[in-house]
Symmetry: C2
Subunit: 380 residues, 2 copies
């Protein structure tokens, strides 16, 4: 199977990731941070090692400000609901995933207002539109670093500056960019960074994380055993314990650490350049097929390795079905959990067929996808 669904989860993972998960389970399969015996300490070390690698990758001073979650959705829920209170105002964009849109919609019920900035047809948000939307109650700007539908890279540096100047917290959803693009939380003025471990970071499913800037008080939403201050009936205030109750996904986090090590050894630039080359190759070659409509920037420098297309008026699910059954190519059709995005790019009814490339894809995979699209177009 030719796997072009890396925006959902990357596949395959580096061999070292598989090995680390197994090694952790078979040799140090104890509960970290609970008991004090050798195996438990080794398990705890493995989690701390992952925390340090994450800190290094995103230029975070204190690894204890990194909270491991089960996925990016949990990280986004924690950040959004933990920060916003009745009377607050939040700004976001029309290119967001339901993991941002659904929490802010829920918060309307408790009196948190929101402004959803309309993006351009290519999915781009104007920083000046964000600035104009700020009012005296604005507490948070939350936005994706790159659209999961069109790949459109957002001007997070400019918006980070706007947020900082206005004294507003800035939450970035890096689901489509972490591990591929440089993200320096200090340079970009990011107060909160949410991301999955199983996409660009090349770790296993079941991992995600939230970085919380020091001094920012986010309400936790799970309480329980932390292995610390067991004598107290209230959740400990110290990080990461406050937000990490119960047994963590130790093997998953050990795998994630190896994914990050692979990225550091390979180099972000090399990974990004490879993905850019595949994306540009794909865009260039399908641009000539007259039935194909491509959404988004159509420029690999302005988008992550995610390209949404449609063929004529054909249902996106039908095309994806043919790609799977006839050509053995894995893509994702439909709305991709991002309804406003499809209203923005004009595909709310049809959805899109999304091709997303990863570091382990080759030129030949792109060629096969292009050939398949051509053949489908000829048959129609």
């Amino acid at each position: 199977m030719i796997y072009l669904d890396n925006a959902a989860t990357t596949y395959p993972k580096p061999e070292s990731v598989y090995e680390a998960i197994l090694h952790q389970m078979k040799n140090f399969g104890a509960n970290p941070g609970r008991s004090g015996h050798k195996m438990a300490i080794e398990a705890g070390r493995s989690i701390f090692n992952a925390r340090e690698l994450v800190a290094r990758l995103f230029n975070i001073d204190n690894p204890m400000q990194i909270i491991f979650t089960s996925n990016a959705t949990e990280a986004l829920n924690l950040a959004i609901k933990g920060l916003l209170k009745a009377g607050d105002h939040v700004i976001t964009t029309s290119m967001e995933h339901n993991s941002v849109l659904r929490p802010i919609t829920t918060l309307e019920k408790i009196g948190v207002k929101n402004t959803i900035i309309q993006c351009s047809g290519a999915g781009y948000v104007e920083p000046s539109d964000v600035k104009k939307a700020i009012n005296e109650n604005t507490k948070l700007i939350v936005m994706t670093h790159a659209s999961n539908v069109t790949g459109t890279l957002m001007p997070i540096e400019e918006i980070g500056k706007i947020a900082k100047e206005a004294g507003i917290n800035f939450l970035v959803d890096a689901a489509q960019t972490a591990g591929v693009y440089e993200i320096d939380v200090k340079k970009l003025n990011i107060d909160l960074l949410a991301l999955p471990g199983h996409k660009g970071l090349l770790g296993p499913q079941g991992t995600g994380l939230l970085y919380i800037r020091e001094g920012l008080d986010i309400m936790h939403f799970k309480e329980g055993g932390t292995g610390s201050k067991s004598e107290e009936l209230v959740q400990p205030e110290m990080l990461p314990d406050r937000y990490e109750s119960g047994t963590p996904n130790t093997p998953g986090i050990a795998g994630l650490a190896k994914g990050i090590e692979f990225i550091m050894e390979t180099g972000l630039d090399k990974i990004r350049q490879h993905e850019e080359a595949l994306t540009q190759q794909f865009i260039d070659e399908i641009s000539h097929i007259h039935q194909v409509k491509i959404y988004g920037p159509k420029d690999a420098k302005r988008q992550a390795a995610v390209v949404s297309i449609n063929i004529g008026e054909e249902d996106s699910s039908e095309i994806a079905y043919i790609l799977d059954k006839v050509f053995n190519i894995a893509v994702r059709p439909g709305l991709h959990c991002a309804p406003h995005t499809h209203k923005t790019i004009g595909t709310f009814e049809q959805g899109t067929v999304r091709f997303s490339f990863g570091y382990f894809n080759k030129k030949e995979d792109v060629e096969a996808a292009v050939a398949a699209i051509k053949e489908i177009c000829e048959q129609l």
Copy 2:
């Protein structure tokens, strides 16, 4: 290392668990329930297979009422906070873990009252005490099936009947019993069942679950992409989607399925009998050592395979440290995230040294532990 810390997490896991995790990641490492291609469908099947196995093990009619979580703590938080509202009253016991005590303490702030039933010195709760505590606002009885400190098995059948007669929801924390003791949610009148995947169920860390009786409305606390009803900005009402936002821990859940299969093939009775035998052997042999104080029922028929002890007035951490360093035996000292339990059994200052046995422990492991305890006592 002789691993006697199975109450924290079981170790090792069956070989089939390791294999399934790796097989899932290497062969079907796609995102389940999102795309429609072969790998994604296979990943989705793997999750559904696990749901069906869980349903069979606990006699649950509809597998869609089973919610996968990252651990038992998340399941307990979801159940407790999702059910209780201002003005409600909840009953629990003095033998609970902080994953129950901390959420109900937090709920005091929004006006949820609680009654913590004092248990006996051996950790046993009197069903009549629970009955007496019920008032017109009582909405929930939550309790552990077995103490994580003393192993004391709780009379959940009697209390299930009391709850049913009174029309009160009954939430059981089966962290120490699932996969070893028969738990039939219908026979026991359990409305909500929370448990980890990585203890008696022999799955990997990063897994847990909550069973919700059909018709029970529990408020979700995470929203996001569910791969269903993507066009809507509100969380879908259908289960399990309502409670399972974002990418699940697919490899972990695939491993959990194999853990449950192992249990079904081996038989609950055989597993329980083996653990009972080890527990009784341990209790019998250390009962003769005069410096040793044993807590709990001191009867393998009345407790899970968890035995807490102390040696004279020695600090529990010091004893565990010696067991680890000198004898290469892994146990857990301290309060085990259960402060009221230690007040109940009189060890709030000293903590206890907890020995917990698993199916993969052998008689020889118990003998080694007994010999080590004897030697420590002689040296003191």
